[in-house]
Amino acid sequence: MDGDGQQPLRVDAPDMSMEQRQVVPNALLGTMIFVGTEIMFFAGMISAFLISKASTPGGIWPPPGQPRLPVEATALNTVALLLSGVAMVVAYHQFKKSPSKATAPFLVSAVLGVFFVVFQGFEWVGLLDHGLTMSSGPFGAFFFLIVGTHALHAVIGLGILAKVFVLLRQGALNLGGMQALTLYWIFVVLLWPILYWQVYL
């Protein structure tokens, strides 16, 4: 089509105001690609987990003699993280209207995120007390690997949240940055129920 066949030359009007097009803001596009990679990273770990689970002798999972995971308490925590995600989406929509309106939901999201991480930290301490460690068998190893990697992402996410919050207060945050942050945080939030379903239930 372009410059092919019967019409090799495509001479646009000389006075045409040519512009660079940024269909998707740089920050958002970069984050999209990064999140895609992260999804594959977690897909790899979940695949490994599923295979190990399926290859346990006798098919009993979790293997006998291992402490039970706190399913109910974590369900509560899951709700907290999901609410954090909802608050972030609200913050994003408020930001589009007026950046100053985004402060409150943004803070709510951050606080719920911190709550999630801290709550999980206490849970880990309890599990370690019960003798579930990385080297106590595949169950513990996968638990700490998968949940720990997610926790690491959540902590990094909170760090970015803090940094972006400063930018927001300074009024130096652009839409692309807000979109990128929202996308990353939604990734962290929505990943959790999948991990909860796979690892805890």
Partner: protein, 563 residues
């Protein structure tokens, strides 16, 4: 630092920018990637020299190395493979030329995330240092083959290199992090920073190829990073992800590894194909034959590349029914690749072909890669793979793909863009001497290895005397032939190094557009200053391959000229 870099037109790059990787300029970063990659290439070549000598003359005191012990032999072959793929092919083809070419070819002043780009090359250097450090720790570098199958790679009691294997793994993970950052940059830049008027189908093929390769890399690397983290835990913390005694599965690693391992082949192949496309159009003064179809074949290759990886596991104890599916997909992937090669050959039709040094390299890429391509069919066919798996046939096959990709592709690109990179021309005569001195011995290295592989010689054996059927004088003569050819080939690289260094400082000054090429990078000065195009960035008015358009006086029509 980065803020001032662009404004400063008066003096060249500072010491810190060049040597401490403090520059955010994409051209500088590209060159840094290239030189680090070339340095690693020398190490990889040195390793090949050492173990080829051992294979041809078992037990000999290799000049410059000493006698090769079995442990050292394993470390040599392992790190030769790792270095050549991850520290030479990837950084030079994708990172170096991606960094250098993408902003210039799409007509913008720099990458969209220059500081991330700087971080990428810094991490890459760190990974190279970690890898080199792994050779000097207790018992030397990791020797469990570049595929690092556990439990061998997971337990120090098996591989005997407790620190070497951990450092190796760490280096690989760091290197992936570097390319991840780089790849995000490439795709975002190519999408968002194109010159005004440059549409998707006006983008030079090499930019497309590098972007699709980056996309493939990023979509496939995740599971391997997951696997590498698990393997690292196995090594360091004593977890049992891949340890059958602790309830893990050794095949699981292969599953995660080859999911990345095969797309990786296409990750490095595509940029080399793109470079070839650029060069053959310029020197045959022809439009690329069926640009869109080539693009489709690239996309088809990319899609299929996610469905072929288990062919590495045909005999590794996976469900044999899976082999049938993967045989079909593996043989099918020959279709887009064959079509791409046909289209490159068709581009030559009706041309006016100038056999300059870059053109010779690009043409030899096509001629040699075909051998690698057709021999792949043997290995993709499950029935034939039962015999060929892990023999020298495999080795010769992938060297016939990787050598054209990494070495021929790099030399093609370097000789072609050298005037733009360094502002001076390379010596064409020396270039041709180097070309023939490389390409002829190359065939004499690997054709004998095909034969040896067909005779049942399998890989990673430091001395064949323990296998009566492989220790015959006939087969040994072929091993010697391969090694002597390697020595010849390596000695001819001195010509190149001399030519490059001499031309870099003393060569003839290059004009802006020495090859009469169309793409945007040739419209800026050689070498391009900070900000590439000066105050005004170019507009793009047409596709990149409008050569020999009827009715024009000149046989080229740069993209940035309004008419």
């Amino acid at each position: 630092m980065s803020a001032t870099a662009h404004d400063d037109h008066h003096h060249g790059p500072t010491f810190a920018e060049i040597w401490l990787l403090q520059s955010t300029d994409h051209k500088m970063i590209g060159k840094q990637y290239m030189f680090i990659g070339m340095f690693m290439g020398l190490i990889g070549a040195y390793f090949a020299y050492a173990f080829r000598m051992q294979l041809a003359f078992p037990g000999v005191n290799v000049p410059g190395f000493g006698t090769v012990s079995p442990l050292e032999y394993n470390a040599l072959v392992t790190n030769h493979g790792t270095i050549m793929i991850f520290w030479v092919a990837m950084p030079v083809l994708i990172a170096a030329f991606g960094n250098f070419l993408i902003p210039l070819m799409i007509g913008c002043d720099d990458m969209v995330f220059p500081r991330l780009n700087r971080l990428s090359v810094q991490i890459f250097l760190a990974s190279a240092i970690v890898l080199i450090a792994s050779f000097f720790v207790h018992n030397g570098g990791f020797g469990g083959a570049w595929t690092a199958y556990p439990p061998l790679s997971a337990k120090a009691e098996y591989n005997l290199t407790p620190l070497g294997s951990t450092l190796w793994l760490l280096a690989v993970v760091l290197e992936f992090a570097a390319f991840l950052i780089g790849g995000i940059n490439f795709i975002t830049t190519a999408m968002n920073a194109r010159a005004p008027g440059m549409k998707a189908l006006d983008v030079p093929m090499v930019v497309w190829m590098i972007c699709i390769a980056s996309l493939l890399f990023m979509a496939s690397v995740g599971p391997l990073v997951a696997g590498a983290v698990m393997l690292l835990f196995d090594q360091v913390l004593g977890t049992g992800f891949f340890d059958p005694d602790k309830g893990g599965g050794p095949v699981l690693w292969q599953h995660l590894f080859w999911f990345f391992g095969h797309p990786e082949v296409y990750v490095v192949l595509l940029p080399a194909c793109g470079i070839t496309a650029e060069i053959i159009t310029v020197f045959s003064r022809k439009k690329l034959f069926a640009y869109k179809t080539i693009l489709y074949t690239v996309i088809g290759t990319g899609v299929l590349s996610f469905f072929v990886w288990a062919h590495h596991q045909f005999i590794s104890g996976i469900d044999p029914r899976m082999a049938n599916v993967f045989t079909i997909t593996t043989v099918l992937i020959s279709i887009p690749i064959a079509e791409m090669m046909f289209l490159f050959i068709a581009t030559l039709y009706g041309g006016s072909i100038r056999f300059t040094t870059p053109m010779l390299w690009a043409l030899s890429f096509i001629a040699e890669f075909l051998i690698g391509g057709v021999t792949g069919i043997f290995l993709g066919s499950s029935g034939a793979d039962i015999y060929f798996h892990d023999t020298y046939f495999v080795l010769a096959h992938f060297h016939y793909t990787f050598f054209p990709i990494a070495i021929i592709g790099t030399f093609a690109a370097l000789t072609f863009w050298f005037p733009k990179m360094f502002g001076r021309m390379m010596n064409d005569t020396l270039g041709k001497i180097h070309f023939w001195g490389t390409i002829i011995p190359f065939n004499f290295i690997f054709i004998p290895l095909f034969y040896l592989g067909a005779a049942g010689q399998h890989r990673r054996i430091y001395n064949f005397n323990h296998y009566p059927q492989l220790a015959t004088p006939d087969l040994q003569a072929l091993r010697v032939l391969a090694t002597v050819s390697l020595l010849v080939m390596l000695s001819f690289q001195a010509v190149f190094i001399y030519n490059m260094l001499y031309s870099m400082f003393r060569g003839k000054k290059a004009p802006n557009n020495p090859w009469n090429a169309n793409t945007l990078e040739w419209s800026c000065p050689s070498p391009p200053p900070h900000g590439n195009f000066g105050d005004e960035l170019p507009n793009c008015y047409r596709g990149p391959y409008e050569y020999s358009v009827p009715g024009r006086d000149e046989d080229f029509w740069p993209q940035n000229l309004p008419n």
